[in-house]
């Protein structure tokens, strides 16, 4: 059973009087421990797919199941609690809270848990250590470079040990060197910590780091998943 199961999903938006169909019966599995890159032109539905998996958006029809939980059937309150435990989200523009230090930004998901202050501190230190920013804990986002900001965002995404990490164009605003650092970090999280990673990207170099690449065009999967597991079979 796949970690993420997308079954016959339809998604449409209403823009003024026009109905835009993004997905018309999309079906897709994402295995646990995989590193999947979603590629495709703008408007192909990559970010919408990410939002559906994260429970930020609902399908018009069909089901989205993550780790056995039917995300598409949850209430907003259930979704918030579920996201806190299961989803680590990384944005293109980092989206760190500017009034909080790197430490405090990383700590945010843990505020939603019952961990003690000391336990939270241990987890935050570990996450910052993993992304190589232990010495920048007290820095505010404005005091960090773009690459450091994105690594802080990744630390925030992994600190609660989520079921799946979703990254929307994580290297889109980074220079080449920082991009490589972030991608290497993601690879390490996947290889060493067995994190399930889904990354939306336009960057072919970024996609090369993934074990699986999916191409979306106008809401259709135009290339079937070619996973390491499938290749092995």
């Amino acid at each position: 059973m796949a970690l993420v199961e997308i079954r016959d999903v339809y998604k449409s938006f209403q823009r003024d009087t026009q109905r835009i169909d993004v997905f018309t019966g999309l079906t897709l599995d994402i295995e646990a421990g995989s590193f999947t890159a979603l590629m495709g032109p703008s408007g192909s539905g990559k970010s919408t797919l990410l939002n559906l998996i994260a429970g930020l958006d609902r399908p018009t029809r069909g089901t989205v199941t993550v780790g056995g939980a039917i995300v598409s059937a949850m209430t907003p309150g259930q979704l918030a609690a579920w996201r806190a435990r299961n989803i680590g989200f990384v944005f293109q523009s980092f989206n760190l809270l500017p009034v909080l230090t790197a430490y405090q930004n990383v700590e945010l998901p843990l505020l939603l848990t019952n961990l003690s202050r000391a336990e939270r501190a241990d987890r935050v230190r570990l996450a910052l250590d993993v992304v190589g920013l232990a010495d920048r804990a007290d820095h505010y986002p404005r005091q960090l470079s773009g690459g450091q900001e994105q690594r802080t965002a990744i630390a925030r995404a992994i600190v609660a040990d989520p079921t799946v990490m979703l990254l929307d164009e994580p290297t889109g605003q980074l220079d080449g060197k920082s991009s490589q650092e972030v991608l290497a970090l993601l690879q390490r999280l996947n290889n060493e910590f067995s994190k399930t990673i889904v990354i939306v990207t336009h960057d072919a170099h970024a996609a090369e780091r993934a074990k699986t690449t999916l191409h979306l065009e106008k809401g259709d999967l135009i290339e079937k998943p070619r996973t390491v597991a499938a290749a092995m079979r």
Binding site: R83, A84, N95, V99, L108, L111
Partner: protein, 380 residues
């Protein structure tokens, strides 16, 4: 508690705006407390008056005197146990810019009828024995640095000339409505100086049975109904209330201004809060993505609004409560016993809670209902 740092960080995002918002709430509630205290102090003074004291005035008005001879006739009425009289003087001291009440009384009977005016026995005797002597409230002593035995000169405004009195006693009122910034001197000396012997501004009539007050008041007025100076008698409380009603429109005006000020500040605060929440649309969306629930975000925004409103309230209401006693404020003598009542503090605190709800509710609801995908699209 674990969210406190997040709340404080958000409040510190625009420090100047937060400080100005808190100060505007503080100012609004300080003004509210001050203006309402004027009203409550006036209302309290209208409640002053012993149940056993009546006041007899000239029916034409307070400024018209009554013959002193009336006193002997009033005393003969059944149920009357004591009588005194007084006359408003209205003199000014120093450069005339600071005002305090001063009037002439018959010392012995006046102090007997007003046990609320407390002064040492030797000072009382000294005052009674000195025709040019005066007693003053303790506030005047501290305000002007006067001493016992010192001569003080008032400039007459209604009754012209310089009037010099020797301070023979300092009293402490047991009822704040009496006022502790009053100068009282001999009616006999007053009568002699103005060369119009035998007049009294008003009479104070002590009666044995308060339940007979209306009957005795009627008897007094009936007695002088067909004279050249008919009288109007009522309980002392009615007398005080008539002064308070002279302030009636002022009280209404003050209440209205107070409410208008609070409402204006409410709009300013609400605007600041909404601006703050609007600026953070993207961050709120990010917090929702992390897993912050609608309810939690609603609560966090409300706590921010509450922190500002309640800090402002503590400063404004606490400031009013502490400031006025510290400066011995009494409205230039027109508001003896001026105090910020507990009821004013309670209403002020409720206004602050209302302010919190009104200013926080819209941004909090907006944060809670924010559609994440749409908001993220704006920031991404």
């Amino acid at each position: 508690m674990k969210y406190l740092r997040l709340v404080l960080a958000n409040l510190g995002r625009h420090k100047l705006r937060t400080v100005l918002t808190i100060l505007s709430v503080a100012l609004a509630l300080f003004l509210f407390a001050s203006l309402r205290s004027v009203t409550t102090t006036l209302a309290a003074s209208a409640q002053f008056g012993g149940a056993r004291r009546l006041v007899t005035l000239n029916a034409t008005g307070l400024v018209f005197p009554l013959p002193l001879a009336y006193g002997n006739r009033i005393k003969t009425l059944p149920g009357v146990t004591g009588l005194s009289w007084a006359n408003w003087f209205g003199g000014k001291y120093g450069d005339g810019k600071t005002f305090f009440a001063n009037f002439a009384v018959d010392p012995e009977s006046y102090l007997a009828i007003y046990p609320e005016i407390v002064l040492p026995a030797d000072q009382k005797q000294s005052f009674i024995q000195d025709r040019t002597g005066a007693i003053i409230g303790k506030r005047l002593l501290s305000r002007y640095g006067w001493k016992l035995g010192q001569n003080v000169t008032l400039q007459g405004t209604i009754f012209q000339g310089d009037w010099t009195f020797t301070i023979r006693g300092v009293y402490t009122p047991t009822d704040p409505a009496i006022g502790d910034d009053v100068l009282i001197f001999h009616h006999e000396y007053f009568d002699e100086r103005i060369g119009r012997a035998g007049i009294a501004g008003w009479y104070i009539v002590e009666i044995a049975d308060p339940s007979r007050a209306p009957a005795i008041a009627k008897s007094i007025d009936d007695m002088f109904r067909n004279s050249s100076s008919p009288t109007k008698t009522g309980t002392e409380r009615e007398f005080q209330a008539s002064f308070a009603t002279m302030w009636g429109n002022v009280s209404f005006l003050m209440s209205t201004i107070g409410l208008a000020v609070v409402f204006a500040i409410l709009l300013v605060t609400a605007n600041a809060m909404m601006m703050s929440a609007r600026e953070r649309t993207g961050e709120i969306a990010v917090l929702k993505t992390i897993g912050f629930s609608d309810r939690l975000l609603f609560a966090l925004v409300m706590v921010e609004a509450g922190a500002m409103a309640l800090t402002g309230a503590a400063l404004g209401l606490g400031g009013a409560k502490l400031l006025y006693p510290a400066i011995n404020f009494n409205g230039a003598g027109f508001l003896p016993g001026f105090t910020v009542a507990t009821s004013t503090l309670v209403i002020g605190a409720l206004v602050a809670v209302g302010l919190m709800l009104a200013s926080g509710l819209i941004p909090a609801l907006r944060a809670a209902r924010l559609p994440v995908v749409q908001a993220l699209r704006q920031v991404e």
